[in-house]
Structure formats: C-alpha cells, structure tokens
Point group: C2
Chain length 132, copies 2
C-alpha cells in the first residue's frame, strides 16, 4: 500500500500552501476548479483527511459544523485565533491553558483529557472593510 504522488494530491497541497487562512474543503475545491486544476470533491476531502491524519494540516470546525483546514507553521500542539469573516489566523500557544485543562481533568477523575480551545474574532482588516 504505497502512497502515490498524483496530480490531484499535489494540487490540493499547493492550494493549501498558497493560503495562510483556514479554508473549507469546498472553498479549496472551488479554487482548484477555477484555476483549471480540477479535482473531484471527494478527492479533496480524502486528501485533506490524509493530511490531517499525518499531522500536516490542522482542522477545526466552525459553529455551523463546517470543517476548515490550514497548513500550520507549528507542528507542535497549539491553538488558533481565527477571523470569522476571512479565516485569517494567528497561531497561539497557551501553556497555562494546557496545565489548567489537565489539572481540571485529574481533579474530577477523568482520563484521556482532550481539550478544544479556539478563539474567534474579527480581524482589523475585515472590520475596516465591513464598516462597523
């Protein structure tokens, strides 16, 4: 079961590399199609899933249940501050949060603690653009 490099996989990886924002599978699919590098939607999903499994890409889910993907700079565990309008992202680190999370888990007898910590906001540019 060798892993093959195909035109499609390269295209998805490239699209990810090009945008520093978190983007949905459908947005990436649309980008590729627009550029002429057509790739089936199912393939986009499969490729993204594989990248996520390999730890090469980060995923997070919006409040509406859509998954967003991004090739993060840091491969180590970190959190995100994401613009809810354009997807622009700042990778942040929260040592105190990690400590707090595991202490809380242990204190209540829970094991295999996992935590979800994401920050959403509106970045300066989007605020300027959207009025408000």
């Amino acid at each position: 079961m060798t892993v093959r490099m195909t035109r499609q996989r390269a295209a998805v990886a490239e699209a990810l590399d090009e945008s520093p924002e978190f983007r949905s599978a459908q947005q990436l699919h649309e980008t590729l199609r627009a550029r002429g590098d057509a790739v089936g939607l199912a393939t986009v999903y499969r490729t993204l899933q594989a990248l996520v499994d390999g730890g090469e890409v980060d995923v997070l889910r919006t409040g509406e249940g859509e998954s967003l993907y991004r090739r993060c700079v840091t491969r180590a565990h970190h959190h995100h501050l994401v613009c809810r309008s354009c997807g622009r992202t700042v990778e942040i680190d929260g040592p105190s949060v990690e400590a707090w999370a595991s202490a809380m888990g242990a204190a209540h007898g829970f094991a295999d603690i996992e935590h979800t910590v994401e920050l959403w906001g509106t970045c300066a540019d989007c605020r300027a653009a959207h009025g408000a």
Copy 2:
C-alpha cells in the same frame, strides 16, 4: 406572539431536567418516544433551540458535528468537562482562560472575541465499565 405552554414543550423540558448529562436532540427524542410522551423530532429541535436562545440550556458540538444539550446549574458563563462516552458533565470555571483569551485577541488586533473551550475525557465509571 404569546409563548404557549404545550404538552410537547413540557415533555422536552422534563426530559432535560431528568438527565444531568449532555444529550443529543435525537437521544431526547428517543427517550420521549420510549416513555410514551411522543413528540415530533422537529419539535424537539425547535424547543431546544428556543431554550438555548433563552439561555436556559447549554449546547456544545461534538467533534462529529452533533449538538448536545444540557440544562446547566450555572447560568453564568462557564465551561464543561464532558465524558465522551456517557455525557456526564462537570461545570468548570476558568477565570484565567477568559483573561488569556481576551488578551490574545487584543494583542493581535481582533475584536468581538469569542472563545470555545471544552474539555473531553472519560469518566471513572465509563473507564471501569469499558474495561481498559
């Protein structure tokens, strides 16, 4: 547009009151059906949504995108430590996390900061039951 008290709404509220765990709309629907208090699924969703809007019930989304509901003790803002297997929940408070979140937002020029902070684990009982 008066709000009416109906058998269905009362049933959903009661089902919520009976279980301290986070439960999905479908689980609640099933519980009601099993008990004989049949209520349409759409109504369960509508009622839950209304309770959430009124701040009477907390929602959170599982990693798989399903929404879970729970009548929390604290009405003030708080976070949850949830058993991923049975839904058992501990309401937790994280003043340091709140401060950290808004400081991070401000530091990067993001406004209207919102944060998602949830802890998932396996509670002692479920660990005992599931072996492992």
